[in-house]
């Protein structure tokens, strides 16, 4: 199988590491070769962060380049737009509609672009946008946005629900498992 590419993008501190761990486990269990590339250190401090997940028969590069992503999973709208050029021509964006102003917008040096979902669609991207923060809070914690997004992403994968559930059980601490299972279901059904 040709290598498939998933990018997880967001703002440092939003929980993309758990999402990539979940995907890594899930895809390994399906028998794929998998590579996951993460960001640690300074850029984690509220900066734009990106995690690359790649899987297939044999994966070489740990990173995803422009025009290569089959999926972009985004925790924040501006970040989806920032990484848009990494999407394949027929790729799918799954994004939370949450907006977090970056410092240049906060200080007034720049403005947050409007109508990003429509503009990304006009640029040819398939965009699935939903209010993941609201769903995460409904599940019991604003921190569960990552798993709401995973639930939504599961729509696009031809994998049994059981496989996702097993990876959740393997990767989420028992204390938070029920909450995250609710978050996954809410994302999936939304």
């Amino acid at each position: 199988m040709e290598t498939k590419n998933i990018m997880i993008v967001g703002v440092g501190g939003q929980g993309s590491l758990l999402a990539s761990k979940l995907l890594g486990h899930l895809l390994m269990e399906q028998g794929y070769d998998v590579k996951v590339s993460e960001v640690h250190g300074m850029s984690q401090r509220g900066g734009s962060v990106v995690t690359y997940v790649r899987y297939g028969d044999k994966v070489h590069s740990p990173v995803i380049d422009r025009g290569e992503a089959d999926y972009i999973v985004s925790f924040e709208l501006l970040e989806a737009a920032r990484w848009l050029s990494y999407l394949k021509p027929d790729g799918q964006i799954v994004t939370s509609t949450q907006q977090i102003d970056p410092m240049p917008v906060i200080t007034g040096a720049a403005s947050y672009p409007e109508d990003l979902v429509e503009k990304m669609k006009a640029a040819g991207a398939k965009v699935d946008a939903l209010d993941c923060l609201k769903l995460a809070e409904e599940a019991g914690s604003a921190k569960a946005v990552n798993i709401v997004l995973m639930g939504r992403l599961s729509h696009y994968f031809d994998l049994p629900d059981q496989a996702w559930q097993e990876s959740l059980e393997a990767m989420v601490p028992p204390k938070f498992l029920e909450l995250n299972k609710r978050a996954f279901e809410l994302g999936k059904k939304a």
Binding site: R45, S61, V63, A81, M103, V105, I106
Partner: protein
């Protein structure tokens, strides 16, 4: 067992399987998790040392005593530890010793993008260079075999994309390495001129033997291709990008050993192809070696010296098709890293900004004090430089500078290499003001303990160095502690210490807001009736505060109720959301 493992965790697993017994490291992105992961194995003694030089010398002592040892550091940390490295090359080892060094091409979290391979060449020690987690594990084990067979420390070099990428590894059980007896050997281990003169020829001979080993070592391998018009020599992640782009089309010589390089293997490979291309990130190390053999090639005339490579970059430079994506017309505002909401550094940096002092900075989260709107930093160079440089600055400009110049340095960085600069101020007497930003943790690298926190790498109680007592013992009479959440106290402390006629230390003390034990206050909210939209609260660059429709607004998912903004508001528009009773 097959599993997905971070490159750094795979190095730690390799150390464990090889029977490593002692690890001493200083944290540094992207090397930190090697030691954190190794600390999870009870069979290995692990510690955080105050700096990389101490870590390397500790590991050396352990190998001298007969146990396999290791130390890890980032590329710039190897500069700090270069002194022991260059002479350990002469002494060699007793039990095996491996040094992990992680480069950061693209500078995800570093102040420069130096190429550590230069250190291997300059110190005349072998260097292995894995390209994924499986190799990281295997090369860590191989490094011990080489270390003991050739009587040398061995460098194990990774980079961000190896250290911080997960890929599939197969693990094995630990094989205990038999402890080597310690035998006194003055001629080998006491490096004074008479002995070192006799050791140097052995070092040169060792390099020749290692080069022979490299000629047939399985980690230097030729992968055949179908199109011999181009032959590619590559290593590390560049190898992965080459394979991604070219598949099995062109023959590839993949070097797992960065130094020394196999002359005959390279010559034979070059002779088997029409043209030669060298693909390597950062400096032309393989390229220069090939050129020294008289080989013509395509290298840094086409590939950049700066930044990380990727599959598109390799394809473009080789004239192969490149993937393209779509974009929108709107400019996308950048999202640089910022001090977190509730960061204790913010109040202090606001005070420095307000008083318009010259700030000689250092390495840590607080380097973000240089970012707008605070913009309260004039210089950042390397670990510890703030204190040494403020002394030099003040000596050059005299009293004029002394009243408006400070050094700022974190607690961990102070223990790393700030103390020696402070000794210079005490000894050579400049009227300097030093601010230690004590957030009770090594923050930037992800919360590692240090000698001032009172805990060790496993979180157990440990020795604790008292910063106030230390500064006083060095001869500073003016040592005071302030809470950086208290802007008035910060302002008074800064003004008084700058005006004082003798050197002083201000310790700005409050634990990092991200530490689990730190209790947060309820988020603040803005009363839109009271708020006049004066933007006073915007001067501190807090990511939780923005102006919407002319009024300040607090993001309650980010705010930790530190109250710094509240102290700036002229109309008391900020209110706590805490429920009374």
């Amino acid at each position: 067992m097959k599993q997905l493992m971070l490159g750094n965790a795979a190095v730690a697993r390799g150390l464990y399987e090889a029977g490593c017994c002692v690890i001493s490291s200083y944290p540094g992105t992207p090397s930190t998790e090697i030691t954190e992961e190794a600390a999870k194995y009870d069979e290995i003694y692990c510690e955080w040392a105050p700096n990389e030089k101490v870590a390397m010398e500790t590991a050396f002592g352990a190998c001298l005593a007969g146990k396999r040892s290791f130390c890890a550091m980032k590329h710039v940390g190897l500069n700090v530890a270069a002194d022991p490295l260059f002479t350990m090359s002469y002494t060699g080892v007793n039990a095996g010793m491996v040094i992990g060094v992680a480069d950061d091409p693209g500078m995800h979290s570093s102040q420069n993008e130096q190429d550590s391979r230069h250190h291997a060449i300059a110190a005349k020690v072998p260097m292995l260079e894995p390209s994924d987690s499986a190799e990281a594990l295997a090369f860590a084990k191989l490094a011990y075999e080489l270390s003991e067979e050739f009587d040398t420390p061995v460098l194990l070099k990774t980079c961000t994309r190896v250290a911080h990428s997960q890929s599939v590894v197969e693990t094995s059980p630990r094989a205990e390495a038999e402890a080597k007896p310690y035998e006194k050997n003055i001629a080998k281990y006491v490096m004074m001129p008479g002995n070192a003169i006799r050791r140097h020829p052995l070092v040169e001979e060792r390099t020749r033997k290692l080069q022979q080993w490299a000629e047939t070592a399985p980690i230097n391998r030729i992968e055949p291709g179908t199109d011999h018009k181009i032959g590619i020599i590559t290593s590390s992640t560049s190898y992965q990008y080459v394979k991604e782009v070219c598949g099995d089309r062109f023959p590839v010589l993949k070097l797992g050993m960065a130094w020394p390089m196999p002359e005959k293997l390279i010559r034979d490979f070059a002779a088997s192809v029409t043209t030669l291309t060298v693909v390597e990130e950062l400096d032309p190390i393989i390229e220069n070696y090939c050129r020294s053999l008289g080989l013509a090639l395509m290298g840094k005339d086409v590939f950049p010296l700066e930044g990380e490579f990727s599959q598109n970059l390799v394809a473009e430079k080789m004239g192969l098709p490149v993937h393209k994506g779509t974009s929108i017309d709107d400019p996308i505002p950048p999202r640089p890293p910022v001090m977190c909401a509730g960061c204790p550094h913010r109040g202090l940096f606001y005070t420095l900004s307000k008083n318009k002092v010259t700030v000689l900075g250092d390495i840590g989260c607080y380097t973000l004090g240089a970012v707008a709107p605070l913009s309260a930093m004039d210089m950042t160079l390397c670990m510890g430089a703030s204190i040494s440089a403020v002394h030099g600055f003040n000596k050059a400009q005299g009293a004029e500078a002394e009243g408006k110049t400070v050094a700022v340095i974190g607690d961990s960085t102070f223990m790393h290499s700030g103390m020696t600069g402070l000794a210079n101020i005490a000894y050579n007497q400049s009227n300097s003001t030093v601010i230690i930003l004590d957030n009770s943790i090594t923050g930037m690298t992800g919360h590692q303990q240090n000698p001032t926190t009172g805990y060790n790498i496993k979180g157990d109680p440990a020795g604790k160095i008292d910063l106030e007592a230390l500064c006083k013992a060095m001869g500073f009479r003016r040592v005071r502690v302030v809470d950086p959440y208290d802007l008035k106290a910060c302002d008074a402390a800064l003004k008084e210490e700058l005006a004082a006629a003798e050197p002083s230390v201000i310790i700005s003390r409050r634990p990092c807001a991200l530490l689990k034990y730190v209790k947060h206050e309820a988020p603040l909210t803005v009363d839109p009736v009271k708020c006049v939209g004066c933007r006073s609260c915007m001067k501190i660059g807090c990511p939780a505060i923005s102006i919407k429709e002319g009024k300040a607004r607090v993001d309650n998912t980010l705010c930790v109720g530190c109250g710094v903004c509240e102290q700036l508001c002229p109309v008391q528009a900020f209110q706590s959301t805490r429920k009374e009773g």
